[in-house]
Amino acid sequence: MYVAVKGGETAIDNAHRLMAEERRGDPAVPELGLDQIMEQLGLAVDRVMTEGSIHDRELAALAIKQAQGDLVEAIFLLRAYRTTLPRFGGSEPIDTAAMAIRRRISAAFKDLPGGQVLGPTYDYTHRLLDFALAAGAEPEAAVRAGHPLAERMPRVADVLGQEGLIERNPPGNDEPPGDLTRQPLSLPAGRDLRLQNLARGDEGFLLALAYSSQRGYGNTHPFAGEIRLGAVAVEFVPEELGFPIEIGEITVTECQMVNQFKGSKEVPAQFTRGYGLSFGQSERKAMAMALVDRSLRAGELGEEAANPSQDEEFVLAHSDNVEASGFVQHLKLPHYVDFQSELELIRRLRAATPDRETAE
C-alpha cells in the first residue's frame, strides 16, 4: 500500500526564517555590503564567477552574501540565476597576448622578455597570521615604478615556438565551439568542450586530480611555462553593426603548462602544452586546469591512459560541483518509501532463512 503524505510547509518556512536570522548574525555587528565583499573578498568573488560561469562581480558578491560564505552554494545560486537571462551570442575570442599584465611569471625561463612580474601574490609570504590586520592596520601604499610595463609581452609559447620546440595550436576555422550549456556532453569530447567543462569545474576536484597526476597517477612532468594575470578586452559583433566593439574589460588568469614529450612516429620530440584559463585571479584553479587538460590529452598523444586524471569520462562527468552537490545532497530529501520497501525486503529475507546461529 502506498500512502502519499504532505506536510512540513510551516516547518520549512520557519526553518528559512531561522536561517535568515542566523545568516545576519548579531545585529549589533554592522551588516556586510556587497561593495565590501567585492573589494575585500575579491578572490572568493573570482572563484564564484569562474565556477558559477558568469562574469559579474556584483552578482557573485550577492551570491556569497546570500550563501553565508558557502562558495559552492553561491556558485549554485549564480548558475540558477543564469537561466533567467537570454543569451545574446558569443564574444570574439579574447586575446591574452594583448593582456594588460598585472602579474606574469615563468618557472621555466628566467630571462623571458618583459621579465618576471610578481604582481599581487601570496607567494613568498610566510603564512603567519597577521594580527595587525585583525587590529585594522591600514596597508602601506603599493610602490609605483617610474615606467609602466611594456604594452605587450610575448607569451612563453611564442618565444619557444619560434624554434619549433613546442607544439602550436591550430587556430581552427570560424566554427563556433561546442557549448555544454546548450548540448549535453557526449564522449569523446573535443578539447573545446573539455576546456569549457574544466573552466566551470570544481577547483578542489581539479586540484586533487592535478596533484594525483604529479604524484605518479599519470605521467606529467610539467613546468609552469607561464602564468599571467591581467585585464583583457571582450569584443562582440552586434548584428546591427556588423563589426566588433569592445563591450567591457575582464580580468583573467591564464596558465600554460609545458610538458616534455618524447615524440612519436609522426611528431618529433618537443614540448607539449596544457592550458588553463579562469575569470579573475584564480591561479590555483588555472594551474590545476592546465595539468588536467594535459592529462586528458594522453590518448591523442599516444600515451598510456590508466589513471583517473587521464580518464575523460571520469573527469568530465564528476567535475561540476553543482551537479555533484545536488546528487550527494539529495540523499537528505525524504526517501521514506524507498527505505520502507528495502526494510520489508530485509524482513522477508530474514523470515525466509532460518536463524543462522541456531542452524549451525
Binding site: A145, L195, A199, G242, G248
Partner: protein, 163 residues
C-alpha cells in the same frame, strides 16, 4: 569585419574605427561617469527607444592554448539598448550600446551618446567628455602597469667558488 554591414554602419574604415573607439570607451566607463556626462547635456536630446535596455548574457570565448581554436570560457552579463535620435540635420540617427553589467541607465545613455557622436552638429558638445573618460581609463591602466612594474624581479648573480 562583416561582409554585410547593417544599413546604419558608417561607410569606410576610418569612421568605423572611430566609432569602435568611442563605443569601447562608453562601455568601459563607470555608470557614474556616464551619468555625470548625461547631467551636463542641456537640453537632454529627444529620442525614441528602438530597443529598450535589456540585460542578457554573452558567452566569453578563449582560445585553446591562448592561440588555438576558440572554446567557451563562461558567460558575462551585458546590457544592450538602441535609440533613434530626433531632430538631427543629418537625418534620423541610430545609436547602439552594448555594455558589460546590468545597468539599464548606463546602456540607454551610452546609446544616446553614440548617436550624438555621429551627428556632426552635436558631436562637439559630447566629444570632450568622452575624451576625458578615455584618458581616465588610460591613466588607470598606466597606474596598474606602474604598480605591476614595481614587482618585476631584478636577478643578480651570486659569485660562487674560486673562479
Amino acid at each position: 569585419m562583416s561582409e554585410n554591414p547593417a544599413p546604419d554602419t558608417p561607410t569606410g574604415e576610418a569612421p568605423t574605427e572611430d566609432r569602435r573607439r568611442w563605443m569601447g570607451v562608453l562601455a568601459k566607463a563607470a555608470p557614474e561617469e556616464i551619468a555625470a556626462v548625461w547631467s551636463g547635456l542641456s537640453p537632454v536630446p529627444a529620442y525614441d527607444l528602438l530597443r529598450r535596455p535589456e540585460t542578457g548574457l554573452v558567452m566569453v570565448r578563449g582560445r585553446i592554448g591562448g592561440d588555438g581554436a576558440p572554446f567557451n570560457l563562461g558567460e558575462m552579463t551585458v546590457t544592450r539598448c538602441s535609440i533613434r535620435l530626433a531632430g538631427s540635420l543629418a537625418g534620423d540617427l541610430v545609436g547602439h550600446a552594448w555594455v558589460a553589467g546590468r545597468r539599464h541607465d548606463h546602456a540607454e545613455r551610452a546609446a544616446v551618446l553614440d548617436a550624438l557622436m555621429q551627428d556632426p552638429a552635436r558631436r562637439p558638445a559630447v566629444e570632450p567628455a568622452i575624451a576625458r573618460m578615455a584618458s581616465r581609463q588610460a591613466a588607470h591602466r598606466a597606474e596598474d602597469a606602474r604598480k605591476a612594474a614595481a614587482t618585476r624581479v631584478d636577478f643578480f648573480t651570486m659569485v660562487r667558488g674560486e673562479n
